[in-house]
Assembly symmetry: C2
Homo-oligomer: 244 residues x 2
DNA sequence: GGCTGTGAAATGGTTCACAGCG
DNA sequence: CGCTGTGAACCATTTCACAGCC
């Protein structure tokens, strides 16, 4: 109810950035990169380039402080710098990628996956065929050596891209190695001790959501299957997170 | 943007299922598969196996109707069947996968990616080296033939796993081929006409969120690096039960 | 007694709309 | 005058807590 003075803001430091906002900051960075040839950009332009509502963008940026100029917009360079700083780009985190199959290889090469302060510090696999070979200039190590290698390389984040069967074991090993931030692409539930931040990405999930909507659409007797050239409703817009 | 009257409940058909619930139903199916040896499961058990709160699970299932028995729990088989039906598993959608690099290959082989009513109906690429070869029993076709092949194969969902540069073109081609549901792994913004459901998955996003939290943790002078059995403070932690 | 199903409260996030500044 | 920054309204989702049924 009552809105007391934000102690963080008052103290100069900033803190409570909503989770949803954090998730969009990276998108803003990409949008800014596209607009890097311009000096300034309005919230409207930036929002369009990032695929979000301009009010959302302004509110998001307001959590970082005041980096815009009224009547003008945001200085692209300044804002890029600031968002990068907030996202922790200056911290140069080192990432370990466990499981170098197709997915792992894709991740290692994914545009921007390892940019902005993130670098792959180590690659692991169990397959003796793969161990010892190189990808992106890094030698693939055996998972058995995970703990010592992670410590040596100063790994702070682990990515699990192994088949589901090995995921829990890998997570345990990462935790034992002192890694407290883990991203897993394994669909099963993995348990980690309190204090470890575990995030799960399910590649099949979004597809299933899509299939659900498509299925509904067919059932409710929508147009069979043909591309409606373009609707008159100015609803088109750039694709956001939610298509509907 | 506009608020229509709930037509589902009025028509006797299933009511509108919240987006957040849809996103969890697939996870429940997986949890049920794990528990398939048991006859029944309580909301508590199921929730633990799926990694969610039991109240959330009960509310979610309540949108599908009453499939539980008070004092007992849910019949695993019945519930599996019902969720599958709601997700549209009986519709047997056919999916086209465009871009068969590492990511595409990973997707084609991803556990559960193509289960539950989803089958890969076509693979496409531009690379002449790849076109003509086979993956998972399917011959890779050239993207130029996308429209005719998609129509012939009855494709209703398209997945874009190409480099960013080609993504918009592929999306256009899919739309032209009558595909109205598209999943893209390309980080850039893609625009599609109204009526097309476009979902974007950014593989780098979750990692960046993780890095943000990790970075914060380091800044706020948390424990350096060692797995402490730690803190009573209800920290983030996404996990289900204890060790399997 | 135990567990589901669900109103109601709490929380979190988005959008509106406009005051206020450059 | 244009555009940011932000209270306030709105909407979605989660969580609580308990009535009702087996």
């Amino acid at each position: 109810m009552n809105q007391q003075v934000d102690p963080d803001r008052a103290a100069g430091r900033l803190r409570a950035i909503p989770e949803a906002t954090v998730a969009r900051l990276a998108a803003y960075l990409r949008a800014l990169a596209v607009l890097s040839s311009t000096e300034t950009a309005s919230s409207e332009e930036l929002a369009a380039a990032a695929g979000v509502n301009s009010a959302t963008l302004r509110k998001d940026l307001s959590y970082l402080g005041s980096y815009g100029v009224r009547g003008v917009g945001y200085d692209v360079e300044v804002l890029t710098e600031e968002i990068g700083r907030v996202l922790g780009a200056h911290r140069k985190q080192r990432v370990a990628l466990v499981g170098v199959g197709n997915l792992g290889a894709a991740l290692a090469g994914y545009t921007g996956f390892m940019s902005r302060g993130l670098t792959v510090g180590a690659l692991f696999d169990v397959d003796p065929e793969r161990v010892g070979s190189e990808i992106a200039g890094l030698t693939i190590e055996h998972v058995d050596d995970l703990a010592p290698v992670c410590r040596r390389e100063g790994i702070s984040i682990g990515v699990i891209a192994t088949p589901e069967s090995g995921a829990q074991l890998v997570a345990d090993a990462l935790v034992a190695a002192g890694v407290r931030s883990i991203l897993t692409f394994s669909p099963g539930v993995i348990s980690v001790p309190a204090g470890v931040d575990l995030r799960r990405v399910d590649l099949a999930l979004e597809l299933q959501i899509l299939a659900f909507h498509q299925s509904r659409r067919e059932e409710t007797g929508a147009v069979p299957a043909d591309p409606a050239p373009t609707a008159p409703t100015g609803d088109i817009v750039v694709a956001g997170l939610d298509g509907s």
